[in-house]
Amino acid sequence: MSTAAVPATKRGVKAGKPVKSQRTKAEARLGWMLAGPAFVVMLAVTAYPIAQATFDSLFSYRLTTPDEREFIFLDNYLLLFSDWTFWRAFLVTLLITLVTVAIELVLGFALALVMHRALKALRGALRTAILVPYAIITVVSAFAWYFMFDINSGFVNNWFSWVPGISADLDWFGNTWTALSIIMAAEIWKTTPFIALLLLAGLAQVPGELVEAAKVDGATRSQQFTRVIIPNMKAAIMVAVLFRALDAFRIFDSVFVMTGGDQNTEVLALLAYRQSISRLEIGLGSAVSVVLFACVLLMCFIAVKLFKVDLASGTDQSQAKAKKGGAEQ
């Protein structure tokens, strides 16, 4: 059943390409003339800085004393890896990534199913509503959640004072675990819609006949779900999870706004910011940046190699795939 997951590639066939005889050198030249500027700009704004950061990370380099810049090879990294501050930031980032992505996947699936099954009249309203968290500025979302729970202005303590453990003088941002919970709640609220929309698109690609056939064969609802629907949208799930995981790992805004990294809630991106921008330790800050970048690369690598996430699916090989019968996944 898992081989029947590729109905959407049909689209690629319809968009007829010019026949082979029309392909000329001029076309290649035109292609690069049109695509070249975008390509060059993209590289200039990312590849160059990351190369520079890698270079800077090998130096002991403070902007306050630029003349004392000195090549120290991997000492910045050794310093990082032997410092609990770094590992704490790493673990906090990892925890936030794992917890938020897991909850978002479940919640996003629920939202996607609701939208998928909803009556036509409701679908538009539901979709508009869940786009609001997606489109809102992350900093605004962080402030909204912060003010709700803040010990001075928040109403949560007041509303939920009947819950054991919550009282008027509970300072949510004065403790690691409560602070992290609110940070994660804000992240989950803001980004679940994105996952839900990707999953909804995946749901729409599950062939209706398959579900019908399973029904005829006497499959229960949960069997239809776990045996037919989920295997057939594995690709969509994987892409959604990977994108969100990579995004969650870069978390910065919410932590900056809510705790500023206090109460042991500092994440990797905030550590890099604090070293480079606040303390002007360009060398050490660059090292944190490079490590963060390496982590993201590693996650990508694992996803693509181990879980065979095909991020480029639906691009230019869609036609080739369709020709091969679309059995690639």
């Binding site: 968009a15 049109l34 700009v41 990312t46 698109a201 890099a272 660059s286 963060l292 970048f293």
Partner: protein, 279 residues
């Protein structure tokens, strides 16, 4: 209860739940933005008396200098970054969807790689370089790095959109004697415009949302965008928290986004999902 009423009731409950989920935090900060300073500490959801005081503070009062310049910076920088990205990406996506040339996959791969790039990783070297060459705390100093946010998504979304265009029209125009460029401009641009427009909205959202670049590469009102400015608000006195002013400013910058979502939700959804999930 018959099944029909039951299902209708079920859907009503579900809809209310989803609406509550999406709108509750926004409603909370909306209510906060209308509170008087006295109300801010009383731990209730709604203000006891509604006031425009906080809005006055950010538009004509003490926080005016901070907020209005930030608003101008945000709108200007995000629009320019969006415009440049969409122009470059339109040409690029056209070539990818339409022409056959070596290196197509490399370009798409690069766009993907840039879109997952941790922003903070490029901030340190840019911070250093911008200070040296005088781009620190200027509009171009933000517009250039914003392209790393707006370009990749524009290329992916537009490539997906352009694949669905009936390109036969272009061939027909070429048969009628138009050059490839003319065919592109006259036959395809009108069809491609909705996709380009949707892409522009998505790119704008991303630029509008940025915080890391905004807070790292600016230091004054000259270029600081709204999300970064929100973190710099101060209360009327040093003993007062700027909760009211921040809430009001937050609502002001959220309104355009909500309006765009309300007007174009169908297109935004198709744009968001096309680039990422295609089986």
């Amino acid at each position: 209860m018959n099944p029909k009423t039951k299902s209708r009731l079920g859907w009503t409950v579900v809809t209310v739940l989803v609406l509550g989920y999406s709108l509750f935090p926004v409603a909370a900060i909306f209510a906060t933005s209308f509170k008087t300073p006295g109300d801010l500490g009383n731990q209730t959801f709604l203000p006891t008396s509604w006031t425009w005081q906080n809005y006055e503070m950010i538009f004509v009062g003490d926080a005016q200098g901070l907020f209005l310049s930030a608003l101008r910076n945000s709108i200007g920088i995000a629009l320019i970054a969006t415009f440049i990205a969409v122009v470059l990406a339109t040409l690029c996506a056209y070539a990818i969807a339409r022409l056959d040339f070596p290196g197509k996959r490399i370009i798409l791969g690069a766009a993907l790689a840039v879109s997952i790039f941790p922003v903070i990783s490029v901030v340190t070297p840019l911070f250093n370089l911008w200070r040296t060459i005088g781009l620190y705390d200027t509009w171009p100093g933000l517009i250039i790095p914003y392209l790393s946010l707006t370009l990749p998504i524009s290329i992916w979304t537009l490539s997906a959109f352009f694949r669905q265009i009936p390109w036969d029209l272009e061939q027909a125009a070429q048969v009628d004697g138009a050059t490839q460029w003319q065919a592109f401009r006259k036959a395809i641009v009108p069809l491609a415009a909705p996709g380009v427009f949707t892409t522009a909205i998505l790119a704008f959202f991303i630029a509008w949302n940025d915080f890391v670049y905004g807070i790292s590469l600016t230091s004054t009102e000259a270029a600081r965008p709204v999300p970064a400015a929100l973190a710099f608000f101060t209360g009327a006195s040093q003993f007062e928290e700027p909760t009211g002013a921040i809430s009001a400013a937050a609502i002001v910058v959220t309104i355009p986004v909500v309006v765009l979502v309300l007007l174009f939700q169908r297109r935004i959804v198709s744009g968001l999902t096309q680039g990422a999930v295609k089986g």
